[in-house]
């Protein structure tokens, strides 16, 4: 038996077209699947994003939109739709793109891939319907002993199985590409990054099964008891590593965008690939940083597992934080923007929404999501903001201003290259990443601000009107929540613009034919002038060095400010 028969792909005659802009061979089967997954992603982003707006408007004290039961219901739906459904559908599209398209290969078993897609859609709908029926407002984390209806868990399990099939197709496609020799040498860096994401996804989904299947049986009454602490440990083995998937996926897209738009090539393949590898190797064990404020866990366990001695996964991201802008600077300097320290950056294609989305995502992910994440994940500092709205502030910096914005940017490449439609309303498309980026950065920062002042997360009424014992947060906290509301509206406008442009383009965009000039063009062959070894060989990167230095200073300052703040607390041992 050859690998062919094992994979079950015998005899499929793939239909290929050649992309006129990149020269890549695109399998029609892969193309259809990428389209389907991307469309599903956008649909769930639209639903989940709207829910996010409703949540933020309720948490804006002056507006306080929804009643309490609806608030908790919609918040549960928001988390599930955006964090799971939007992101993972899009990631499946990325996996198919990075394997079949980038490797000029046919996709393994598209039929099975469609089955996976259907499972994901059914699962996502099932969970949504269950949440909307009420009685399942348990938040997407669903910590026991709080219990949702069985279909809530079942939907998530089905969705996860579908996603697992998607990962399998990705691996199989890599095998086929290797066997059929559709590319030379090693796989491209972007595919390598996607491979990291897929490997982590397998681990993630396994943990998900270990915890969600018992939870499902428990809600059916077949298991009598779930230990809440044990549940939380395993749940976060899924919940945290799925964030590592997001990071791998969006960093891959950063590299892809740099390559397609300015002709960037990695400074050194070795360093960038090692940095991806670190995500796999140093995926924190059982995601200890979600358990820093829990009873009975040993300090040395926490310290070792949040940091594995020296924060090696963080180091992976810090490396990409240099090599991504570094490769762009090097490419731009080769492109002739060589004056001064920052001409390369000023003259970057800021009017191209894919570039704008990518670069803003890079900045926000590092400065907001990254720094706050390390601080939040520090053993003692965690006590300052555990379960406050600082936590959603932090992860809107990673997963909204970082991942979501990067995915939005990448969409402006997918639309012309895969959907083969010219982007409708280019003016709107141009401002979209800025609008969403500013909104997302704003909600992240203001939620962090409010959390620093103590405001609880997942909380309907910070005035405590109905509480027996009264309590009042400071005026500053209310101000922060109000500002959060305002920036939520901006983010929502950015989100709506995105959905409009995507839907408009998919349905009504001009079909792209041979010889068509793109409104938002790709870079033409800057790679040709690249030097042989890492691009820097001949080029200095002062701009990137300054950017990275600013980042590092912010990081160190913010880190110590929080220790200062901690030292002023009551004493506890």
């Amino acid at each position: 038996m050859t690998a062919e028969t094992v994979i079950g792909a015998v005899g499929r005659q793939a239909e290929f077209r050649t992309c006129q802009y990149t020269g890549l061979k695109v399998d029609a089967g892969a193309q259809a699947l990428i389209k389907a997954n991307a469309v599903a992603a956008v649909v769930f982003l639209a639903i989940g994003g709207l829910m996010g707006l409703l949540v933020a408007l309720t948490r804006w004290p002056a507006v306080h939109l929804l009643p309490a039961d609806w608030f908790y219901l919609i918040l549960t739906g928001h988390g599930a739709n955006v964090l799971l459904f939007w992101i993972i559908f899009f990631e499946i599209a990325v996996l198919y793109f990075a394997s079949a398209v980038l490797l000029n290969c046919r996709l393994a078993t598209p039929k099975l891939a469609w089955l996976g897609f259907v499972l994901m859609v059914v699962g996502a709908l099932m969970t949504n319907v269950t949440v909307l029926q009420g009685d399942s407002s348990v938040m997407f984390t669903s910590y026991p002993p709080m219990q949702a209806k069985p279909n809530f868990y079942l939907g998530l399990v089905l969705f996860a199985v579908g996603a697992l099939i998607g990962c399998g197709i990705f691996f199989a496609t890599l095998v086929i590409a290797k066997e059929e020799g559709t590319y030379e040498g090693s796989m491209p860096l972007v595919t390598f990054g996607a491979l990291t994401a897929a490997i982590i996804a397998v681990f993630t989904i396994a943990s998900g099964a270990i915890i969600l299947v018992p939870a499902w049986l428990w809600s059916l009454g077949l298991i009598s008891d779930l230990d809440p602490l044990m549940y939380k440990v395993v749940w976060w083995a899924m919940g945290h590593s799925s964030q590592q998937i997001n990071v791998s996926a969006h960093v891959s897209l950063w590299y892809l965008t740099g390559a397609l738009l300015v002709g960037a090539k990695p400074l050194s393949e070795k360093v960038s690939r090692t940095a991806f590898l670190m995500y796999i190797l140093f995926l924190q064990l059982a995601s200890a940083h979600h358990l820093l404020a829990e009873p009975g866990l040993d300090a040395s366990w926490k310290i070792v597992n949040t940091s594995y001695m020296m924060y090696l996964a963080v180091m992976g991201s810090m490396i990409h934080g240099l090599t991504v802008p570094g490769s762009i600077e090097a490419a731009q300097r080769r492109n002739g923007f060589n004056r001064g320290v920052f001409e390369w950056l000023r003259k970057a294609p800021w009017g191209h929404p894919a570039f704008a989305g990518m670069f803003l995502s890079l900045i926000f992910f590092g400065f907001i999501g990254g720094i706050s994440g390390v601080v939040l994940g520090t053993e003692q500092l965690n006590v300052l903001m555990h379960n406050t709205i600082y936590v959603p502030g932090h992860f809107h910096g990673t997963v909204v201003a970082g991942t979501t914005l990067a995915f939005m940017g990448a969409t402006y490449l997918v639309l012309p290259l895969i959907f083969q439609r010219e982007i409708i309303w280019p003016k709107l498309a141009k401002i979209q990443p800025y609008l969403f980026g500013v909104g997302a950065a704003g909600i992240s920062l203001f939620m962090m601000g409010a959390g620093t002042l103590g405001v609880a997360r997942r909380h309907w009424d910070i005035t405590f009107t109905d509480a027996n014992l009264s309590f009042a947060y400071s005026a500053g906290a209310f101000l922060m929540m109000g500002l959060n509301g305002i920036f939520a509206v901006i983010a929502a406008l950015g989100g709506i613009t995105y959905v409009l442009v995507v839907v408009g383009t998919v349905l009504f965009g001009e079909k792209i034919k041979g010889g068509h000039k793109l409104t938002f063009p790709l870079h033409s062959g800057g790679g040709a002038t690249a030097s042989h070894y890492g691009s820097e060989g001949t080029i200095k990167l002062p701009g990137t060095i300054i950017l990275v230095a600013i980042f590092f200073v912010c990081f160190v300052l913010y880190y110590f400010i929080n220790w200062k703040y901690l030292s002023e607390l009551w004493l506890f041992r």
Binding site: P145, P228, A299, V383, T388, N468, G537, T544, S567, W570
Partner: protein, 191 residues
């Protein structure tokens, strides 16, 4: 390009750029420093979460709290006992749908062994405006030695979602200055 296979087939032999090397080194040292600083804080810092915790049946914990409240109750507030334990003593706080029970009165500068547990769902002990946040589980009794460093009136908020009444779940801690406390005592004795 990152979207195409590496230009050099043997890419792992390429030399690494100097900027990259320097940055990797800095990131490595910084990570190492942050790791060591967490350990150091256990020696130089006064804020470290205790790991002392025991498994306990929720109803047994409830009984302990009730006994404690009866023993040290000094007055009542909104139908909830206000309890003033002796400094250094064990103090029991109960989380349940939807209140923190009882109200505590502590002395500034004195250390107390605070027991935390829930008798139903998970809750979040969030002491405000001080901003100390600890998860509270049913079935686990968590003990921390807490020393208030300021006097006044403090709120306990629940910051772990615990159902439809979550936003009404509050508690209270009064912290008195030592002198103030003694004056109060004298007053009480005179009466």
């Amino acid at each position: 390009m990152a979207a195409t296979p590496p230009e050099q087939r043997i890419w792992w032999n390429e030399p690494i750029e100097r900027v990259e090397l320097v940055w990797i080194f800095i990131a490595f040292l910084w990570g190492l420093f942050m790791f060591c600083f967490m350990i150091a804080w256990h020696f130089i810092g006064q804020q470290n979460l205790s790991k002392e915790a025991y498994r306990i049946v929720p109803s047994a914990y409830e009984q302990k709290v009730e006994k404690f409240a009866k023993q040290f109750q000094v007055r009542e507030e909104q139908g909830i006992p206000v309890v003033k334990p002796k400094p250094g003593e064990d103090v029991y706080l109960l989380a349940r749908l939807w209140q923190w029970w009882p109200v505590l009165e502590l002395e500034k500068g004195q250390s107390y062994r605070i027991h935390l547990s829930s008798i139903d769902w998970m809750h979040g002990f969030s002491l405000q405006p001080t901003n100390i946040n600890i998860s509270v589980y049913p079935g686990y009794e968590h003990i921390i030695s807490l020393t208030p460093t300021e006097s006044g009136q403090f709120g306990i908020v629940c910051n772990e979602f615990c159902g439809i009444g979550h936003h009404t779940m509050t508690g209270k801690i009064y912290v008195t200055d030592k002198k103030q406390a003694e004056a109060g005592q004298r007053l009480a004795e005179q009466r």
